[in-house]
Structure formats: structure tokens, C-alpha cells
């Protein structure tokens, strides 16, 4: 039983650990549809360049990732796989839902094959609205998530309302 699990972590140490976590986040990219290209633009293009925020976009497997970006339409056929890979990620893990489709179904709100919101299958921490959101919006979502991680208590997962990027 370490200090972290028992919740008796001294405050300065908590801050130091949180800062380290904040600036070394490995993101598992779940690119599904149009938003995947905007996510690609945010992660791989020199104009937006996510690495300057301390986010590393290319983990080899979900088992090495800190947070998951679900970008695009989750269909009912795909939903079990999303859940499965989310379960493979180690705690503490976070989920960013990018785009209207992942948030609530978006333009396919009345489609027979689309899951209306990825929050039905995994808990979502940050919602990034837009169809598709600009890369800047995704970056803001990541920055807000980093701020949340900075103020997190090590003993228990931050509990509260999810963040919505405006």
C-alpha cells in the first residue's frame, strides 16, 4: 500500500506528480470518421502540433495510453470494440469525445445503425462539439483536461460534471 493508494500523499508531491502526468500524456487515437482527419491535422500537422502541449500521439497499444480520443461516428457494430480497448487502458484514464457524432449521434440522430453518443459505453471527461470540430477546439479540450489533471487528488478520481468545450 503506497502513499498514492492510501490518499496520504503530501501536497507538494501531489503537485509534482500531477505536473509530470499533465505534460506526458500518451493519447490513443480512435479515429473513426471525418473527425479523425481533423484529429490527424491536430496531431500530425506542423501548424497545430500537439506535442508542444506535452501530448504524445502515437502509443503502440491502448495499454500504454493515458487518454482516449473518440473522434467520429460510433456505430453499433463498432461499439463493443470501443469498450474493449477502453477496458485495456490502465488507470487513471480519460476520454475525450470529439465531434457531434461521438457526443450525441450528430447528423445521424435518427439513423438505425449509429450509437447515439459514446458516453453510453464509456465515461466521457471532455466533450468537444462541432461537425467536425476544428483542430483548435480539440487542442482546447486537451488543455482543459490537463488543467483538470493538475488539480486532481491522487487518491480518488476527480468526480464532477464533464467539461464541455465552448
Amino acid at each position: 500500500m503506497g502513499l498514492v493508494e492510501s490518499g496520504k500523499m503530501p501536497k507538494p508531491l501531489t503537485k509534482l506528480l500531477n505536473m509530470s502526468r499533465r505534460y506526458s500524456m500518451w493519447v490513443y487515437q480512435w479515429g473513426l470518421a471525418c473527425c479523425a482527419i481533423e484529429m490527424g491535422a491536430a496531431f500530425a500537422s506542423p501548424r497545430y502540433d500537439v506535442m508542444r502541449l506535452g501530448v504524445i500521439p502515437l502509443p503502440a497499444s491502448p495499454r500504454q495510453a493515458d487518454f482516449l480520443v473518440v473522434s467520429g461516428t460510433v456505430t453499433d457494430k463498432m461499439a463493443p470494440a470501443v469498450r474493449r480497448l477502453w477496458e485495456q487502458m490502465p488507470d487513471p484514464k480519460y476520454v475525450i469525445s470529439m465531434g457531434s457524432c461521438a457526443n450525441c449521434g450528430g447528423p445521424y440522430w435518427d439513423s438505425y445503425s449509429v450509437t447515439k453518443g459514446v458516453d453510453q459505453i464509456v465515461p466521457v471527461d471532455v466533450y468537444v462539439p462541432g461537425c467536425p470540430p476544428r483542430p483548435e477546439a480539440l487542442l482546447e479540450g486537451i488543455v482543459l483536461l490537463q488543467e483538470r489533471i493538475m488539480n486532481e487528488d491522487m487518491a480518488e478520481r476527480w468526480k464532477g460534471d464533464p467539461i464541455v468545450v465552448e
Binding site: 473513426l32 457494430k77 470494440a81
Partner: protein
């Protein structure tokens, strides 16, 4: 899921075992079964391929689709005609404007309206710009699939210049939703033509860069030459279209041979073909087509006629009863809409003929007797987009 009793645990394991084929390798008597996807970086989204291997050789490969099926054809039956373009933008999400055009042309054919010349010109320009935006990413991505990381950064960098120009006219980087029945929503903004010429110069230098960086690279040639060869007759029998067909030596381009509603007959341009039909040829043809698109836009920018951008159409659009099929040469190949109208606000039935779906159908044939690393490069060179396959 909470598991309290042993029975529940067994039921849980059984439910998990049902889809245990995902991401595992299974050894059988006949060899090994390798599963690729549905979430795999090389599949451009959510395509799943089950390959039966004998050592390093693929004995049989089966694509499994439907992970991105969003039910477009059914949804269009409950949307009014102007609302449909919002949806069909998202079929091929890299060249969105090109998706709207055939549907709008089909509806125009049924209503017997014709867009004014200026609208046709701007449509063609935006059509070719979305082709550049689409193929640009292919040029970078194909290099990634054979092991070079740098070109994709260049592709994303230079693609932004084209997206900026599309955004400046339509207001959307990705999904313009700009085409209307009878014309376009807005005219070009001031100074756009000059800026577009600047973006085109940028794209031309990008093409030169790709030619030096990727096409002339020995490793790239070793990975693509004589790999995944599709002869012309096979390509035709599988219904390939677009650059995949032209890379097999078949000289067919809808823009030249069956053009409807766009002004390709006003420009001097060339259809590029390549006799080899391998992965290298497909890359080469797409590279030349990007250059040719720059050339087409360059000529069209100098000759845009003046006049209105919208024909006279009623405020509430009701399309008379009838049937129409219009296909255009989209970045990925032939994309057509078969629209059946019963005279209502909404289409009665829309059949979407998307290019990637037909291009995809050749995968079991072409992935036979290739090596495992070549699966990736062949799939990348066929260039499909999952939204375009599954719709």
C-alpha cells in the same frame, strides 16, 4: 458489469469469447489466421481484414465492412432535398464538395433547371480543389504505409492552404454544404482568385517535393513496383474506377468521356494513364492528377464568366416525379446518385454508387499470394475511405 456468481462469470466469458477473434492470431491446421483491424492505423479507419496465412504468404483475405455504416440511403428518404447535401458531404470526408455535386446535378436534371455559367465554373473549381485536398493526403499517407513518416507531415502542412481557400468561400474546412439546386449559396469573396493562385503554386511545389522525396526513392520503388498488379481487364470486371482504373492502363475518365454539368470541356487538360497497374502506378497517376487539377483550376480561374450564381428556383423545393442517375469523377472514382422522386419534398429513394465500395471489392483477388507487409501497401495504394465504402 458486476459479476457475483460463478454462472454469471461463465456467461461473461462466453459473451467475450464470441468476439475473441478481434485482434488475436489463431493457429489452425491450414496455417495461421491473422486479423487486421477494425481499429488499425493502416486501414484508414475501421476496415477489418481476416487473412489466412501460410508462413509469410497470404492464402486468402476477406474484408469485413460495415463498421462505419451510417445508413445514408435510408436517411436521405426522411430529409428534404436541401438537407440531403448536409448528410452526403460526409460520405467521402476528404473531398466533401465533390460528394454534393452529383446529387445536386441529379436533382437539377429532374427539375429541369440549369445552374448559370458562373456557378458551373465555381463548382468545377471547388470540385478540383476538393480533389487536391483529398489526394494530397493520399500522397503523404501512402508513404507512411511503406515506412516513411515525413511525407505525411508535408501533406498535412500543404493541405491546409487548400482547405483555407475552400473555407474562405464556403465557410467550412471540411463540409462545405455549399451547393444548392440551381446554383451556389454565395459568390466568391474578394481577392479569392489571387489567393487561390498562391495556394496552387504551393501545391505544385508540394507535388515536385513528393516526386523527389517519395517517387524517386529506391525503398519506395522496391515496395511498390510489381506489387499488387491489376491488369486492365480485371480492373474493369471488378468495376474499379478513378485513378485505380487509369493506373491499369484503361483510358476512362468521366470528366472527359461522360461529363455532365461541369465545365471540363472548356479547359485544355490531359487524362493520365499508366500501363503497369501496380501500386507504384496508382501513386504515380494520383500525383499527376493532382498536378493536372492545379492546371485545370489555373485555367478556370482566368476565365470565370460574370453573371448570377443562382438560377430561378422556387423557395420550397419540390422535385417532380421521375428518375435520374448522375455520376461524376470524384477523387476516389466514379460516384453517382440514382435519385427516384415521387414529387415530394423528400426523395423517394436514393441509391449511392460510391467509388470505394467497388474499388474495395477487388481486395480478395488482389490480396491472394502476396506477403503480409504488402497487404498494407496494396490497401494504401487502392486508396479507399471508409465512409465511402460503408456509407
Amino acid at each position: 458489469m458486476s459479476i457475483s456468481t460463478e454462472n454469471e462469470q461463465l456467461a461473461y466469458i462466453a459473451s467475450q469469447a464470441a468476439d475473441a477473434r478481434v485482434n488475436v492470431e489463431v493457429e489452425t491446421d491450414e496455417g495461421m489466421t491473422l486479423n487486421l483491424g477494425p481499429q488499425h492505423p493502416a486501414t484508414h479507419g475501421t476496415l477489418r481484414i481476416i487473412a489466412k496465412l501460410d508462413g509469410e504468404k497470404v492464402v486468402a483475405a476477406e474484408p469485413i465492412m460495415g463498421y462505419m455504416h451510417r445508413g445514408y440511403e435510408k436517411l436521405t428518404e426522411v430529409r428534404t432535398y436541401p438537407q440531403v447535401t448536409t448528410l452526403i458531404n460526409r460520405i467521402d470526408w476528404l473531398g466533401s464538395f465533390a460528394n454534393e455535386v452529383p446529387f445536386i446535378l441529379a436533382a437539377e436534371q429532374l427539375m429541369e433547371v440549369e445552374a448559370p455559367p458562373r456557378a458551373q465554373w465555381i463548382r468545377t473549381i471547388l470540385f478540383e480543389l476538393s480533389r487536391i485536398a483529398n489526394v494530397c493526403l493520399f500522397l503523404g499517407d501512402m508513404a507512411v504505409q511503406v515506412g516513411a513518416t515525413t511525407p505525411v507531415f508535408y501533406a498535412f502542412r500543404d493541405r491546409e492552404f487548400v482547405l483555407n481557400q475552400i473555407e474562405r468561400v464556403t465557410g467550412g474546412r471540411f463540409h462545405p454544404n455549399f451547393d444548392r439546386i440551381g446554383g451556389l449559396k454565395d459568390d466568391l469573396p474578394k481577392g479569392w482568385i489571387e489567393e487561390t493562385r498562391g495556394a496552387l503554386d504551393r501545391m505544385k511545389s508540394f507535388c515536385d517535393e513528393m516526386e523527389e522525396l517519395v517517387l524517386g526513392n529506391e525503398i519506395f520503388q522496391a515496395r511498390t513496383r510489381n506489387i499488387g498488379v491489376i491488369p486492365g481487364d480485371v480492373a474493369l470486371s471488378y468495376g474499379l474506377s478513378g485513378a485505380n482504373l487509369r493506373a491499369s492502363g484503361v483510358d476512362w475518365d468521366i470528366r472527359r468521356d461522360a461529363n455532365v454539368g461541369l465545365v471540363y470541356d472548356q479547359v485544355d487538360w490531359k487524362v493520365w494513364t499508366h500501363p503497369d497497374g501496380d501500386s507504384f502506378a496508382r501513386f504515380w497517376v494520383r500525383l499527376q492528377e493532382t498536378r493536372e487539377a492545379c492546371n485545370i483550376i489555373d485555367q478556370l480561374l482566368g476565365s470565370i464568366p460574370s453573371g448570377p450564381i443562382m438560377a430561378k428556383v422556387p423557395r420550397i423545393i419540390k422535385v417532380p416525379a421521375g428518375e435520374a442517375y448522375v455520376a461524376t469523377e470524384n477523387p476516389l472514382g466514379e460516384m453517382g446518385y440514382y435519385v427516384v422522386s415521387k414529387g415530394d419534398l423528400t426523395p423517394f429513394r436514393v441509391k449511392i454508387r460510391s467509388a470505394s465500395f467497388s474499388n474495395m471489392s477487388i481486395t480478395p483477388w488482389i490480396l491472394k499470394d502476396v506477403f503480409v507487409p504488402d497487404i498494407i501497401s496494396i490497401l494504401a495504394s487502392l486508396y479507399f475511405i471508409l465512409g465511402d465504402i460503408d456509407r
